[in-house]
Structures are given as C-alpha cells and as structure tokens.
Subunit: 251 residues, 8 copies
C-alpha cells in the first residue's frame, strides 16, 4: 500500500473540511437537503428514542423553520410535547403517526402554488394517503383528497374525477392496497403524472401490499410510477417536487 | 448392448398385463371422467410423443365420439393428421395449439344450452382465451368472445358489456396478463360468476403472469374465482360446468 | 336473472350526479352492489373503528334489509350491540368473526333455492368454512356442511360424498389448509363446480396457506377454481352466485 | 393543459356508440389516448405478428401523424419496411428494438419545450435508456443523455452532473441494473424529480433486475419513483408527462 | 497465529496419509462410499465432458464391478460406447438419461432381497420414476412399478394398491408433479415408509415441481419423507437403503 | 407386518356405512390409522380448544390404549390434567409441548425392537428433536440421542458417531437449523437411512428454517430424505416406520 | 450390512477418544475453537435459558479468560449478573444486546495490533454495528466507528473517509439497511477489504434487510464480501481475522 | 428553483474538470481504479460487442500494462485475437471464459507475495473457481487450488487441508454449489479468513446456486463472508486484497 492511499480520492472529491459545528454522529442530520434537492429531511421516528426524535426535530426546525417526523410510536407521540422547548409549536396527526413542529416565525408552510390530488382506494389506505398529504402540504402544495374510490364499482369514480379536473392538479397520487388496480385505471383516464402508492393491506397470496405493488408495476397504463409500499412520505415528496417545479416553471 | 443388463429393471417395468381392456400403463386414460364429473378428459400433449397423443385421442374418441388435445408442440401438430386412422376427422387450431378429433357419428359437439362470455384484455391473451373457448364449445356451450378490452381505457368496456348483457351468459371468463385488473373491474359490474384466467404476459417484477394471478386473488370484487396461469382448459371446463348445470337446472 | 340485468350498470355508468345524501368519504358504501352484481356489499371490519363498522352496517341494512360484517376484532364484536340502534337485530358468530344485522322486516334472508355443499378438510379449516357458509346463507342458499374429511384417510370421504350427492348441490366449496389436496380429490369425483378455499393453516415451507393455494392451482382436476387464502366471503359469494343462477334458470 | 382537460374523458365515459369503422377486435387500438392522457399509445410488438404490428402502426399514424412500436423481434424489424404503405416513412432503432413511423405531414415530433436528462449506470443499461429516450423525444421533449456513470467510482459523476445542471431538466431518468444504487445517489444530490428505471442486468441473487428494483424502492432518498424492470417506454412517458406539464405551465 | 495452526485439526482428524493412487483432482472419486454408506457413488454427467464421464465410470466399475451415470446429455450418450474400453459392458436408458456399465465378472447387480414399489402419478413423471428404479435395482432391490395413478380419479388407485400389497414392499416411492397430492394419499393408506419424489411438471404458480414439493412437505400424512425435485437417484437410494436394511435385518 | 396388511384398506375403501357411533364432525378422528398405516393418529393441539384436545385424546386412548397430542399451547398444557377423566394417566413434556395419555392397561408403549438414533445440531434444535423422540418411543422404538454436534467443529462428531455405531440403529434422524449441513455430513458417513429434520432456527436470508430445508434438499449425499420444517412428529413417525419394519422383518 | 459398518469411518477420522471432562450434551461447547480458528466461540443467548447462558459463559471464560454472549433477551440481561459467580466480572451492552464476562486475570482483551473501521449508514444500523465492534475489540483489534453516513447526501462521506485513511485500517465493515448502497460506494473508493453487513431495516418490498443484502451481493464494486442480515458477530469476526493476520504478518 | 441549484453539490464534490482525453461515453473506463482501490477494472464482456471488449481491454492495458475480460461469449473469444493490435499479447481460458492481455513490458503480473488457497467442492464448481484463480494471480498472488472436496465424504478433506496448512495462505476461497456446506466446514477448521463462493449448480428447490448462497449466509461458522453466485472475479479480488495487504503489512 502506498504511503497515501487516499490521494486519488481526495483529489477527486476534494471536500472543504467541515467545521466543528456538526452534530454528534448519532444525529448527523442533513439540513442542507432542502436547499440541494428541494425536499426537507424527514425524521423517521420508528427506531429512535423519543429524545433523539425531539432533538432532531428541533435542530431541523432551527435551520428550516419547520420540521416533520414520520412513523411515531405511541410512546413517542405522547412524549414529544414535553420534550420540545418553548420556542416550538407542534401538531400531531394520530392517524398517519406524523408530527410537524415549527418556530414562531413559520406558523405555516410557505405556499408554492403546486397542486396535487390524492386518491385512496379503500378506508384502510387513508392513513398512508394522509402521510403523503402532510408531506405535500409541508412542501407548499395545495392538496385535494378523494377517498374510498374502489375499482369494484367504477361508476363511483366519475364525479370525483370531474372535481379533480376542475382543480387541475400538477400531479396525482393514488394510494391502494389489495389488488392495487386503481392507479392503472386513473392513469389511463387523466393527463397528469400519477404516483402509485401501494398500501400494506391485503391477505393471503399477495398480502401486505405485495399484490398492490406488483399490479402497479405491471400496469398497462404509462404515465404511472411507484414508490415502495406504505411510503407516503416518498409519494408526497415526489408529487410535490413535480408540482412545485411546474408551478414555478413560468418564472 | 450387452446380453441383458437391465433384466431386473425390465422385469420390474414389464407391467404384467392387467386384463386386456385397459391400455398399456403409459396410456392409462380415464374415459369415465366425462360421465363422472361432466368434463371430458383432455390429452395434455406437451411431454408426450406424437404417437402417444394420437393413440390417446383415438381411444378417447372411440369411447366418447370426440376428443381434445391441448398444448401441442409444432412437430406434434404436423404429425397428427398422418397418425390418425381413417375413422377420425380432426381440426387443428394453431393459435391455441389445440386439436379436436371426432368419429363420423359426432361431427359436432352436442349442444347443452349453456352460455358463456369470454373477455380478453390484450392481444397477447387471446391464445389462452381461445383454448378456453374450444373447451367450452366442446362441452356444449354457446360462447361469445370480446377481445382487447384493457383497463387503461375503461370507456372501451361499455359497449361490449351491453352486448354481453343481451347474450345473458351463465358464466363469464376474463383472460388477462400484466396487471390482471380486468376481471376485478368486470366482476364489480356484472351479475354473473366470473372465472379469472391469468395469462403469462408481463415482464420484470410480477412477470410471467404472476402479477395477474396475484391481482385477481387480491381482488376486492366478490363473485370472482381463478384458475392457474395459462390454464385455458381449466377455465373453459369450470365455466361450462357452471353454465351446463344452469342450463339444465329447469329440467 | 331479470329481463334487463344491465339496467343498474347502465344507470351507474351514465353517472347521475350523486346528491348530497351520500355518506362522508370514509363510509363511501356501495348499496347498489347487490342489485348490480347479485352480491351484497360486506363490511370488512378489521381496520375500521367500531363506530365505522356499526354505521356502515346500519346504512347497508337500511338500504337492503340485512347487512354483514366480516373479520371483526374482539373489541368490535363486544362494542357492536351497544352501537346498533333499536331498529336493528343482530347475530354474532365468534368462530368466524362475522356479524349479521337486520331490520325487523327482514328477520330472515330470503330463500333463493340455491343449494351449496361446503367441505372442510381439518378442524382448523372450519372458521373459514363457516364464513363461507354465512355468506351463502345470506345470499339465499341452502347449505350442507361436511367437516374433517382429510385426504390422509380417503375412505372417510365415501359416506359424506353419498350424502352430498343426495342433496344435489349446484356448487361445492372445499376449504383446506396444509397440502390442500382435498379440492382436487373431490373435483375429480363429482359433477359439480368446485370452489377451492385455501386456509392459512400449515407451517414451514408452504405454511400460512401457501401450500394449499399452490396445490389447488396446480390441480390436475378441471372443474375447480379458487379464491385467495382465508377468503371465505369470496368463496361463499361465488358459490351462491352460481347456485342462485342455476336455481333461477328454469324460470 | 387546455382549459377543460376532461372533455375527452367525459366524452369517453358517456360512451357514444362506436360506429362500424372500428378495427377488428384483434386490433382494438386506443387512438384517443394521446388526447385523453397526453401519452400516445405504443404498439408492444413482441407477441404480435409483423402484419398486426404494421397495421396497428399505420392506423395510429393516420390518426396521430406519428406512431411508435417497441420490443420488435428481429423478424418484425426486417418485415416492417415492406409492410408499410407508401404514405409512411419510418425509422428503426436496433439497439432499443424500437420503430417510429410517420406520415409526410409529420416528419418530426412537435416540440413541447420539456427537458429531460437520462443517465445510465453501465453499458448494458443503454438499450433500455434509449427506449426511454425515443419515447420522450416522440412526446416532444429535449433529451440529454449521460452514459456509464457507476456508483463504484463516484468521482466520475461530478462533471456529468454539472453538465446536466446547465441543461436544467424538468425531470431525470436513471437507468441501472445490478445494485441499482445510482438513482438513490442522484436523487440525493439534485432538485429534480427522478424516475428510477431498473434494468434486467445482474446474476445470482437479485439478478434479472430484481436487485436494482428493490434497491430503488428501498431508497432513502425521497424524490424518486420507479417503473418496472426494463420499462423504458413507461419511464420515458412519465418523465415527458412531467416535463411537458412544467414546460406548458407558464402559459 | 501459532507456528502450527493445524495441530488441533490433525490431532482430531488424524487421517492416515492417502497413497499416490488417487486420481487427478478433477476426478476425485469416492469408491469407498458403497462400503461406508451402502450406496454406490453415481456420476452426475450433466456438466462433465464425455471423457470425464467415461473415465469416472470406468474407475468406479474397476473398484466396484458396476457403475452408474445419471443425467447424460444426448452427446454424452452417443459418445459413451466409443469411450469405454473393451473390459466394460454397458446399457443406456434414453428415457431416464441413465447409463450403467460393468465388468465381465458383474453382469448383474447382486440381489439384496429388498423390495420396493414405485408409483408415478402421470405420464410425465415416468422418466424420473425410472431413474429411481434403475438406482434401486443397482442397489439389489426387486422393484414393482405402477404408472399413471392420478388423484383426479382415485378409484383407479384401488387395484394397483392391492397388487402392491401382495408384493409387500419394504419401502414405497411416489413420483408426482403438478399438485403432488398422490404421495399423501398413498401414505395415508399403506403401512410402508413412503418417499415422495416431486417432479418438475406443472406451469404457472407452483410450476417446475415447486407445487408438488410443497404439497408433499405440507402433507397431513405422517410416514412420508421427500427428496428434492427430480432427484430420482436420491429417492431410489433412500428406498433401497431402507429395503436392504429390512431384508438383511433377520440375519 | 401381518400376512395381509391391506385388509384394513380394502375394508375402508369398500366403505361400509359407518354407524351412529362416530364422533361429532368436529372430532372426526381416525383411530383405524394405526392398524392401516402403522402410525397412530396424533392430535395437533395448536388451533383446538383445550376441551377438544382432551376429548380427542381420550377417544383415541380408549381405542388404542395410548394417545399423543403435539404443539400444546401453555393454556392447554395447564388445562389438560383437569379435563382428563380418572381412567387416564398422562405425561406432559414442556420443552417439546407434547402430551401423552394412557389407560391403566397401557402404562408403557409396547416395544417393537426398532432402534433409532436422533442427532441435533444445536441447542435450539432440541425441542423439535425431542418431539421426534417421543413419537418414536410411542411407536415402540428404542432411541439414542446425540445433542449439539455442529458442523463448525466436525471433530466433535467422531465419538458420538462411534457410540451410535455400537447401537446399530435402523434409521437416523438429524435435526438442524441455520445452514442445515449436519444431515448431509452424517449421511455421507453412515450406512443408515437418514431423515433430515430442518428446524426453524436462523435469521436473515434463509431464516426460519428455510436455509436448513434447502440445504438438505440440495444435499450431495444420497440416503437422505426430509420432512418439513419443525415436523418432529413426521420425522419420528417415518423413522419408526422404517425401524419397526426392519425389526420385524426377520419374523 | 457388515458386522462393523464404521470401520471405514473410524479409520478415516481415527479420533482420539475424548476424556470424561466434556460438558453435558446441552452445553457441548467448543473452547478449542479460538486455538483452531483464531475466533472465540460466542454464546448465542436468544433461545437458551438464563442459566444455560451463564453456565456457558463461565465455562468458556474459565478456559479462555474472557467470553461473549450475543442477542440477550431483556430477562437474560437482568438475570445474568446474579447468576455469575464471584470469580467473574462482566459488562452488559443494552444497545447491541451483548455481554462480555472475564476472570480477574483478564480484565482487558489482549491487543493484536489489528485495525478496523466500522461505518453505519443510518441510526437504525448502529446496534448491529456495535455488535460487530464488540466482537472485533474482543478479538484484539483497535476500532474506529463512523455513524450516519447515508448515500442520499454523499458529500457527508468525504471528511469521515479522510479520518479513516489516516487510521489506515486493515479491514472495513459497512453496516447498512434499506437500499444497502453504502458498502458499494465505499468499496469503490478505498483500498481496503470491505465486509458488507446488511441490517434488517426497511419496509415493503425488500424490507427486513433483504434489499440491503441483495444490493450488496449485486454490487459492481469488487473488494466487497458480505455476511447475513444482522450478523454483527460474523462481520466483526471476519474483519478481525483479516486484521489480525495482517498485523501479525510481519513477524 | 434558484439560479444555481448545484452550488452545494459543486462545493462539496468540487471535482477538477476532467480533460478531453476521456473515452466516448460507451467506454467510460475507470483506469484509476487500481490505484484507488488496489483492484484493476475488469471488462465484463457478456453484453458488449467484440469490438467494445477489445477496445476496452487495449485501453486498460495501455494504462496498466495488463487487462482482464470475464464472461466472454464464444464468438467474442474467437474474434478477440484478430481485434487486438500487435502491441498486445493475450491468453484465453475457455473453461472460465476469461481473457488476459498485456503489453510487451508486462509479460507477467507483478508478484505481491500474497498467498491464497482455493477449494472447489465438485467438478462443476471448477470454472468459477478458475475465474477466481485468474483474478487473484493477476493481482499478484500465489494460488494453491484443491478440487473436488465434497462434504459427503469428509475424510477426503484431511490431506488437502494439511497441504494447505503448509502453504499458510493469507485467505481461502471455497467454491461450492448444491448444498454449499463446504465453506462452513472449512471455516470451522482453519484460522484463515474464508470467502464463500456459491456456484449456480443444483436443481429443484434451491437450484441455480440459491441453496449454496443461503447455506453460506446461514453458516454457524464465523470467519466466513460471501460474494454473489458465480462471482469468481469478486471472490478473487476480495481474497487478493486481503492477502496483498497482509503480505505488505510488515513493510
């Protein structure tokens, strides 16, 4: 081994040394993400301690004004209000297990002008659809939601589609479990990019969302791309990125 | 070859003739199946020699008047006409790789009064749908077929559904590959039992019919049961059994 | 079948604007399903709140006289009686986790004349078989059940088959877990359409019903179609649809 | 987007009786798809006869000026020129197995102003990336492609990313087989919506694109949605839909 | 690391140094296997050159009198006679792709007194059943075979079972593809150890023998153990080991 | 084996009408199984009520003198003593979750002379190995067990193998989870039929016994057949059937 | 069967009879493993009783000075201190569920001079990375850890890589769940052998570490080998074996 | 979108602009890889044209003196000699489908002093083992190979292990298909890091190398890490990296 094996790498990556202000390794956040990619970092709470979640949220909110945590455990949801300092307000959504906190200067997410429509196929798909909604709203979009529009009774789809057409969204999210057929049907009818959001509903062969994911990937309708099962944050972020880009394109 | 190394094996395989009326073990047919279950035995050609297929067909046709072979290899399809004795007429369908033979007394399958509608979602699903059609016709049913009715463009489904309603079938078969969504959509709209027939069309995740099968089994629409991927014979037999029973129920 | 079975579909697809009386999106029911497809909507309770289940049941029962909920959690089963208004009677089946409610005018499901036989292979298959039974009875059928008829001891099958033959069913359901071999055996012996109902019993390779489903789809016996693992409601609906169609065919 | 994007849907769902001019069932095309969804119908050639492919292309080109066929078999590619009438010009791309035909009035796809960047991770991913490119160009977009940018040597990514930043695309497609890590890496660095396009390259565990698809769906980087393995047409259509919407948004 | 890291291993295994007579590494045979385990080594031909197969067979036959090769490719079957020296006789079985060679002193496998019955469910299962037969015969057993005994027509099972009972085998092999139900049925009826031999017949979900294997492993009938799909050699060896042990037990 | 082992089958298949003494459908036991197949019926407790388990055990013990239940839940194990009438003694084994009950006349299982050796690879495999032991002992065999003999330290295998050789078993069971390599190693060294018993130990890829099962089915060592994961009863029954047949063969 | 079937085996393995000092079968430890392979035996606690864990640890520590247990259940962690005799000190690590005990003479693991760097991609990967760290330290290595270095923000990788380059490790471990892309990226940049350690983090398709494992196995970067999901002990042992060998190589 | 969205990325990665000497995109090689990671880039030939392979090899050999191509198709192997210019010598290995080319100045790979032992379990594993050998030799190592050492006859392992101990390798590769048990056995006996190399040999359940990979990942023996199925290049590179580091460590 040569005396300096990293010469080539350093030359290639030549990163300016970061200063000492970075957080401890256990909380190595990425507050620059929003500036770099247009999407704020989200704190995935599930496997963290309540303290880690609160600390991460506060650090992000300090940098960005607002911050989001997803997949909160019940004990985390209960502990969070007590852990947040007085400089932060917060809102908890039990159904989607999501929390948003903000500093006094940012009582509302700034509006981007992006417009998104979010369909859910059945009652069980709504928590995940709601996670997507919160993410899209935090990224500045206006959201219209349509619930309980199954393919086994397609006539129920007509009036909601007309309402959505009036709203003229920049992107559409369709959350569906079971056979996951709704995104295909909608993508075959509308002129908007559709994000398929498979939900872990179902049983037996193809249960836990596998059937829904597979059905969406096999769709005969182009104009449809998917995120992983139950990834409401990802669907919301993708749709908002598309919508914000379209909304700002004229400027 | 030596004097006789396989003596013991040959003795073992020699299969002491059970009384003369049954064929050699390699052709242990079940001509009583039609009487017992209402469904004629079908010769699955794929792994047999052309001679075995021809012999099986002739023995079944002798007992039943008509006989069917499915999944013929091209070489079998070519050899079959020459192998059938003069007492048999035959018909070959290349698309579905099916053959039907009959004795002079049975130039047509007897009519049962059963009525079946067979939908196929895409052009690639038609060979399998056709296999189902031939089976149903041989079991005595009248069949109406509707091709190329995809879910990515549901408006194309309306007029065919009306035509089918006029026909008033006893059972419906829906063949579909890819996302396999069509059977769910149809089962959610019509008052007939629907047999989902997944077809080995598709690629990537859920390819080879897996996605279609999974989607049908996960369907939210009751009134739908499925057969295995590409099992046109099975779908045709099931639908015809249902239809024949309904057609004869009044007697 | 009525003279114009597609009236409901045509009305639905013409999509008359729904008035303000529709329920909130979270309870977007489909009370027209029974008229359109011959199968009543069933409330899948598992992921709903007790209040949502009760409300859905009452709305459906108001429209149809009777209503069914499946897969009740224990807490839902306990809460349901207190949540139903005085206008409804109800019946709870703990084994199959099913509830039926009805208004005073419909103390019994109307009889259709359809006849269904339901076999279960082992003791563990009975809850699912029972779910199928309740669905079939609610759709108007007479049901005969035969329990504990395993393939590992086929001689036990003989007498039950004779009893079933006397009953002369229009359709047969066979519930089986583990190796799922019973539906194949029965379909090879009887002249009735058989619905295979795989049950999530088993362990190791092919456990959770996978082996049973696979075995039924691979069956050499035509005249057999399957529903998903543990889908007793689907099996009951499919069999009743077949039976009712046959029972009414003579008129 | 026009002032009433749902006109086509409403007309379609009102289902005006189609006249006799519709093609035979085997060629039930959907020429209204472009108007309805913004995406032209593509002829999937693989399982059709050369005649069916040519006929479908010509009918679509008559209606739309231009038409695309994908996944041409070698025999189809050879037969196609002879089968097209004199009113059509054509172009064949052997690498991606794609054909485009057009009438004299439409020698070029109309330009939409949409901008798309398409990355491919390895040499084997380029045919699929090229399929996506052709689709996007036919939908009117300007496309910049960057080939052979693997994650095992990330420093090679820097200059191409800068070039792409200057182009300022509305959407990005990243084609990758093997470990499928490139889309995650890019989505974590850029402010554009990324379409992950897994390619059926790889061997052993996770081969045939499975590993790439899984990796993209498990990505920690939001702002990434995927299509099925080798679905270049789908990725191109989705990206072009996004880009066209953004390009037209200011009007 | 100590100067002699293998001290512990050598002490534990302390193997006598093998002399120079061992074959080249590419043909490291195990002629002592028969003495040690009661089962002769079998040459798996599929991935070897014809020369390697011939050489291996001759070396084994020199040591044991007789030798077996399985899964011969057609080119190997053709080349083998020319490659064997004059000291060996041979016999080729095309159906099971098996070869047996022997020296003049061993024109027949010695008889052990073991008795084995081998059932096959369908015509396609016979090549694999035949491989098992040859292996069992070479290990000295008497074999009775029963072909084409499907579960879809169980009445056909009765007479063969009676014949088998008269033969009173020490072990039974049941080869089956598709739903693989026959071994369960037989194990539930007879007092002999049953070896399930799944065969790679079938299509769609559970194809290539997967369904048969799963069904046998899920069997409710104890007294059944299985080998891998298409492993006729393994089934024959296991059954013969059982039978030979029982046949010799009295001595 | 008796002079006419098929008497029971012939009687059973002749299907004499069972009289009214058969138990209720929910307890359709098969007490004739031991006479017919040499293996007593075992009550699989897991999904039954404690009362059903107790009743089934008592009915079987009345017919056979002794009876076994497997996979008892803790609540069943606790309830069982109180539910058994005074005519029965019982023994509970917590480790393997097994119970045996007997009438006063059968304080011990009759001895068959069969000899079985049972190896387990790791400490976690012992509960399942113990289930196999109990089954084999109840079927009359003498059993020698060897625990904790892993392949990662093969020298530890030598002394146990010698002890087993002195015992001279008729059959060997090898229980192993994780990589499941031990059965292959043992089958390559000993002249006894080996039953591979995969155990649901392991994690990650191939966890829950899948890796062990796969490894055993892929074994290069003939003379090895397997039962499903955790099927100790099945392994014990198969081994005892082999051993008893060998032990009785001399008579 | 000959009178002494183990003659061949005994000759081959000829193991010196072990003396009577071996532990009871349930605790058949392998204290010679460290001498033989350079890796101490680790007590896998998960399925043992607390007493078995304590006894195993004490016996190993008596032989080796120090001993490790992994995957302790909470009840075991609580019970352990009380079960260890006074001759042993211990240390418990809750995060990684690991315990180390030692005798007074071995208060610290001896230092080998081996150097290892351990990266973890996300906060959820740290418990497993920590298990690897403890194993490597117990095997004598110096360890540097770098946490929270995700691929979705690769610029964060630069400074840690430089720190690691100064440390100049002999081997690198990279723990990652989700898309598991980090090991590929690092292996493509550094001149050290990389052990990929997939972690059971993730959800939906590819969840539970499957996606991470697959991605690492599909990696385009050579110089990377993997252990099973969550196998921190295995990764630590492999890396330490490599590092210790390199550290001692000069002597 | 800000006017310069890549500011953050550029700052972080700040790569020196590459000059114009880079090859066309289709041949974007990484000749710096050897300097950076210690492993030369290998040309994966399978999906390239013969011309692309030759050009890539020549460019790499110009930069490095020698270059390797793997997985050559037969047509590529035939074309290669004619395509290489006169400045290059070459060597083709048909068994492993590998080619090495070199300039006159580098007739031999430089020796590193690293020592590697490569075991293969069966004859079918040798091509892949050979690919690993060539890679290791090109990276400067001395290699000892041991072929045909199966676990079904472990006594055959003793003498080869002793030979390997005398060689005292820095790392060991064990190639195995089927049950893949050999790496576990060897890792449990020797004090060297073991690279498990699963080979796509096997059939039925666990075929195509799946069983071997799973078995190695489930191994109870620490000191073992694996590469993907058939990845001989990867195994050779990993082992050589380990060995070279150890060989140079003393300096």
């Amino acid at each position: 081994m040569s005396q300096d094996p990293f010469a080539a790498i350093r030359r290639a990556l030549a990163a300016p040394p970061e200063d000492g202000s970075e957080p401890a390794p256990a909380l190595r956040l990425d507050p620059g993400r929003r500036e770099r990619t247009g999407i704020p970092e989200v704190v995935l709470a599930e496997r963290k301690t309540s303290e880690e979640v609160a600390l991460s949220l506060m650090r992000l909110a300090e940098a960005q004004g607002r911050a989001i945590a997803s997949r909160l455990r019940p004990d985390q949801a209960q502990a969070l209000p007590g852990l947040l300092g007085e400089t932060f307000d917060h809102s908890l959504d039990e159904i989607s297990r999501t929390a948003v906190i903000w500093t006094r200067e940012f009582p509302e997410a700034p509006r981007s002008g992006g417009r998104i429509a979010i369909f859910s196929a059945g009652a069980s798909d709504r928590p995940i659809a709601r996670e997507a909604t919160i993410m899209a709203v935090e990224m500045g979009c206006d959201v219209v939601t349509v619930a309980d529009v199954g393919v086994a009774g397609l006539h129920r789809l007509v009036r909601p589609l007309e309402r959505v057409a009036e709203f003229d969204p920049h992107a559409v999210i369709v959350a569906a479990g079971m056979d996951g057929a709704l995104p295909s049907v909608i993508a075959g009818l509308v002129p908007y990019p559709v994000i398929g959001l498979p939900v872990s509903v179902g049983y037996g062969y193809g249960g836990a969302g596998t059937g829904a994911l597979m059905s969406m990937l096999q769709s005969c309708a182009p104009g449809l791309a998917v995120v992983n099962i139950d990834n409401g944050i990802g669907a919301g972020a993708m749709a908002a990125l598309i919508a914000n880009r379209a909304a700002n394109a004229g400027f």
